[in-house]
Symmetry: C2
Subunit: 256 residues, 2 copies
Amino acid sequence: MRKPLILLTNDDGINAPGLRASLSVAKEFGEVVVVAPDSPQSAKGHAITISDPIRLKKVDVFEGVEAYECSGTPVDCVKLAKHVVLKNRQADLCISGINHGSNASINILYSGTVSAAMEASLEGIPSIALSLLDFAWTADFRQARPFLKLIVRKVLEKGLPNCNLINVNIPKLTTAQIKGIKVCRQSDSRWEEEFHEAKDPRGVPYYWMGGDFAATDMAEDTDMWALKNGYISIVPSGHDLTKYDAIDQLNEVTFA
Amino acid sequence: MRKPLILLTNDDGINAPGLRASLSVAKEFGEVVVVAPDSPQSAKGHAITISDPIRLKKVDVFEGVEAYECSGTPVDCVKLAKHVVLKNRQADLCISGINHGSNASINILYSGTVSAAMEASLEGIPSIALSLLDFAWTADFRQARPFLKLIVRKVLEKGLPNCNLINVNIPKLTTAQIKGIKVCRQSDSRWEEEFHEAKDPRGVPYYWMGGDFAATDMAEDTDMWALKNGYISIVPSGHDLTKYDAIDQLNEVTFA
């Protein structure tokens, strides 16, 4: 049997320890091709580069693994992987991450990690976005390893029924502390931003985005609840933003 | 009665003719505050700026209208509008656009125009993303004007039931040719990219994203069908990407 072809990307950049962590798992299951940003691309959402050229450079940073660094966004990486790197070869799986930091709840909208996996899912590739709830560059990705292996194995064996993308978040716990896996819905929580306002050396004001995540939706069926209670959360995710329950009334009343 | 407070933004930049077109409509309904990018920000999706400072400058470019240009993405503009410009004033409506070019179907993922409106909708502001199917800077936005007025008036009067965001696309037709408004679902079509590959003056290769939109889902209930058949399309849109019909099987079979 042909070994599965696994496309690996992320948004923290090709040198991020999180990418090495997922690479070491992916290599056990198939042939891996890495196409990842040449610099950090966090919070780039589903941005693509259309008004500028993009650079793509083959690099030799992972022993025995075909790898490319790309000047574009995470979604650019996936598009270049498909059209330039893999060409007529269809990947059997896309893994994005492991991201340094949570992509649970509404973070799915802002996350370059999830957007890269979503872009691959649009192309018919079963895709896994992986995030660890630890922003540190030195985060300990080994603790999640047995669960990552399980998730990748199950997706390769069984596919993803009724979806093509799972958004996986991993609590910052030891292997022994992690209680298991819960498949859930996206929590409807929000960021509460706070902008630092200051002046640059020339006296010109600037703003810098900060803030806290407000856990306003912690219902038991949410990813936020699962993570808080020691589980790995998996949210099966799509790309159709239509609010179907609004169509009839808008058609028949509001815009009639 | 207090005049409605309308936040206006876009992704083509504060000088785009499409923004002036929506401003001229919005001014008829309320007090308008403009916070828009200082340069084109097309295809930025839901990207935000977290690793760099953002500039925000009050400008006097629209007679009698409070306006700010912002160095960030469209979503940054909305966040700064909320936290820095409007502070304790809650907008009654957000209008994003009119975008130069379509944001129908899957373009909702890539579009800075829709993402800005979506960000406002997350903050509880009823929001309208507006796009005209004409990429030209000289596009004729006057033809759509009577329909824009109707849409803004209806949303202010009746609110948006079961949703907080509508993605409006307008065909490139004269007022007389436009058949009306259809509320529909997001077509499940895709881009078929093609990358131009060339070398820069120093002989280093680069790639430039191009491509065509493939109208693969033209069912009668889609925005793509409505637009093709002469209607303005309105897709009520949310921010929950969960594929609910996948949860049970993933929980009980795949990851059991």
